[in-house]
């Protein structure tokens, strides 16, 4: 008897007992679909967070004014409590390093912008030329802030595409004068749609030179200072340089917080790896449940088909052949069940991605392969016990049971 005959016989059994077959296919399909959807969800969460950070720019050293530390205690008490400003001069000082390819001081505020009677409340960024490359923004029209003296408060601005559409409708905003707060700025460019980054869409913002923003919001401190290193390897040396430079300029006091994006990303990566494995574990349990269900249904199938087994033995089937029939049947059921589950899982993640475009639920390839392979292996493994039971049946008793 060749394997084609074995599979033909098993396939006929599957094909011609619809109730039992659909139950087992359902169990397997749910197991595999669960693996694909759950790991897809875990992966989507990881990708979402990673993207949020990468869209900030790569190889970044981020400086924030103020130091988080525990205040109090006898010795340190006199040094805490006041935060020194992070100034434009500090920012300029950090550009003087071979591995620094870009420095972007940032001031953030909100203001009312006005053009020919239309008003809109928008976030306003004070920035410099390097912000464009560091944040990977693209220009839709005109140009971005050019290289100039950072301490000069010039009256030019770059606007987001939504601001442009709302205030200027279909006409070009380039060269027009826009009122921002109490001052007037000439529009020199429009930023293209770059999606959302850390919750703020660039479509909504107005960007002015950093010194202009400090005047506008009457502040002497930057909100953030972004320093870009030329490579991942030089991040540490740049961080040290930035930290030391600002410390020296602040009379030896470490009153700023310097973090690297790398470290933050690595932490999140760790967290999401654990999360993905936890999700895979849950999925594995659902596969095991599917396997147990297959075993139970196969056991019922064997006892329902006792007479058939007896007959097969009477017409010359060896125990191994009976075993082969039932294992092949379990294998076919798991195969078809996993393929259905694969279809359902992929369709599910596709539909989810359609309705929630910001969440990319594509499952990782390893999860798809592992899910299907483990499902088939589970089905076969759990099919072996019932098959052995069938193979060991006493033919005389099996035949007697039929009546």
């Amino acid at each position: 008897m060749n394997s084609r005959d074995i599979f033909r016989y098993s396939f006929q059994s599957i094909e011609r007992s619809a109730g039992r077959t659909s139950l087992m296919l359902l169990a397997m399909a749910i197991g595999v679909a669960a693996v694909i959807l759950l790991t897809g969800l875990g992966e989507a969460a990881r990708r979402y967070v990673t993207n949020e950070f990468v869209s900030l720019g790569t190889n970044l050293v981020i400086v924030m004014p103020g130091k988080s530390e525990t205040a109090g205690g006898a010795i340190n008490a006199s040094f805490t409590g006041s935060t020194r400003a992070l100034t434009i001069e500090d920012a300029i000082a950090t550009t003087r390093h071979a591995n620094v390819v870009g420095v972007a001081p940032l001031v953030v505020g909100a203001a009312t912008v006005q053009y020919s009677g239309l008003e809109r409340e928008v976030p306003v960024y004070g920035a410099t030329k390097d912000m464009l490359s560091i944040r990977k923004w693209r220009m839709a029209e005109g140009q971005f802030l050019s290289e100039s003296d950072w301490t000069l408060a010039t009256s030019i601005c770059v606007i987001g595409s939504t601001v442009s559409e709302e205030l200027f409708a279909n006409s070009s905003p380039i060269g027009q004068w826009l009122r921002v707060g109490e001052s007037r700025f000439r529009v020199i460019g429009v930023i293209g749609n770059t999606g959302t980054s850390m919750g703020v869409s660039t479509d909504e913002v107005v960007i002015v030179p950093v010194a202009s923003a400090m005047t506008l919001f009457n502040t002497d401190s930057l909100f953030r200072l972004l320093v870009e290193a030329n490579s991942r390897e030089s991040i540490d040396s740049v961080r040290l340089f930035v930290s030391n430079t600002i410390k020296a300029r602040h009379h030896g006091e470490e009153d700023v917080t310097v973090i690297t994006q790398d470290a933050v990303l690595a932490t999140f990566d760790d967290i999401f790896n654990v999360l993905t494995f936890a999700v895979a574990g849950i999925a594995a349990i659902s596969l095991a449940v599917a396997g147990v269900l297959i075993m139970n249904v196969m056991l019922v199938a064997v006892s329902q088909r006792t007479a058939e087994v007896g007959l097969l033995k009477a017409v010359g089937a060896a125990p191994r052949q009976i075993l082969a029939f039932f294992v092949a049947e379990a294998a076919l059921l798991s195969l078809f069940g996993s393929l259905i589950g694969l279809g359902v899982g992929l369709a599910g993640s596709w539909i989810a991605s359609r309705y929630f475009p910001s969440i990319d639920m594509r499952p990782p390839a390893w999860a798809v392969f592992a899910g299907v392979l483990v499902a088939i292996a589970t089905g076969i493994a759990f099919g072996i016990i019932p098959a052995q039971r069938a193979a060991k049946l006493n033919p005389v008793e099996a035949l007697a049971k039929a009546k």
Binding site: A307, L312, A314
Partner: protein, 229 residues
């Protein structure tokens, strides 16, 4: 050499801790092409004897020689091969696989012994045509009458060209007309040289055999040969 030779065969079942002697010291020789009926009251051991002869069961002691070979030394696989090649079973309740068509049911023994599918198809079609079932090839058992089912079962029992046909109450579930047809077919097989052993309660059926064995309490009580053959 006899086709079948039983020497001091015993079969003991233990039922609820008690030993039941289903067969006691059976000595029996059966030659090629004999037509034998095996009769006796319920529990006399005739089915047990038939199962032993069909290699579905093993004697508790004694020897069973089939074609001169001691079957008690065969392992499971060799027993299965012997069942598939040398022995054809016909059962009272037909034992057709309900989801398979007549053709597929008859194909089963050929499939198990590894005959290629093309050969199977033609042999099965010819055989079912001989049984008067040429237009029933693709019918399932539940679409066939009792007599038709038993003819499918006989086709299945003979498709591997066995030398020994064992029939356990072959007419037990049939009306007298289809029962008569089934006996006719079995006798035709015997006329072509196959050994035929029929277990039956039906005296008319039993009387047609050339050699009549009667069992009582696990013993062979009578062994009558008629000269009708």
């Amino acid at each position: 050499m006899s086709q079948i030779e039983l020497r001091n065969v015993q079969r003991i079942f233990s039922v609820g801790g008690e030993e039941v002697h289903a067969l006691r010291d059976i000595d029996l020789k059966i030659g090629n092409g004999e037509y034998i009926s095996l009769m006796g009251p319920s529990g006399s051991g005739k089915s047990t004897l038939l199962n032993l002869l069909g290699l579905l069961d093993r004697p508790s002691s004694g020897n069973y020689l089939l074609d001169g070979r001691d079957t008690t030394t065969l392992n499971d696989v060799e027993q299965a091969q012997a069942r598939g090649g040398k022995i054809g079973f016909v059962f009272q309740s037909f034992h057709l696989v309900s989801r398979l068509t007549a053709r597929e049911n008859v194909e089963l023994p050929l499939m198990l012994s590894g005959i290629p599918i093309a050969q199977r198809k033609s042999r099965v079609a010819d055989l079912l045509a001989e049984m008067g079932l040429a237009d029933r090839l693709d019918h399932r058992p539940d679409q066939l009458s009792g007599g038709q089912r038993q003819r499918v079962a006989i086709a299945r029992a003979t498709v591997t060209e066995p030398e020994l046909i064992l029939a356990d109450e072959p007419t037990g579930n049939l009306d007298s007309k289809s029962g008569g047809e089934v006996i006719d077919i079995l006798e035709r097989l015997n006329a072509n040289g196959k050994t035929l052993i029929v277990v039956t309660h039906d005296l008319d059926v039993g009387d047609r055999a050339h050699r009549k064995l009667k069992m009582v309490d696990g013993l062979l009580a009578k062994d009558l040969r008629s000269n009708a053959a």
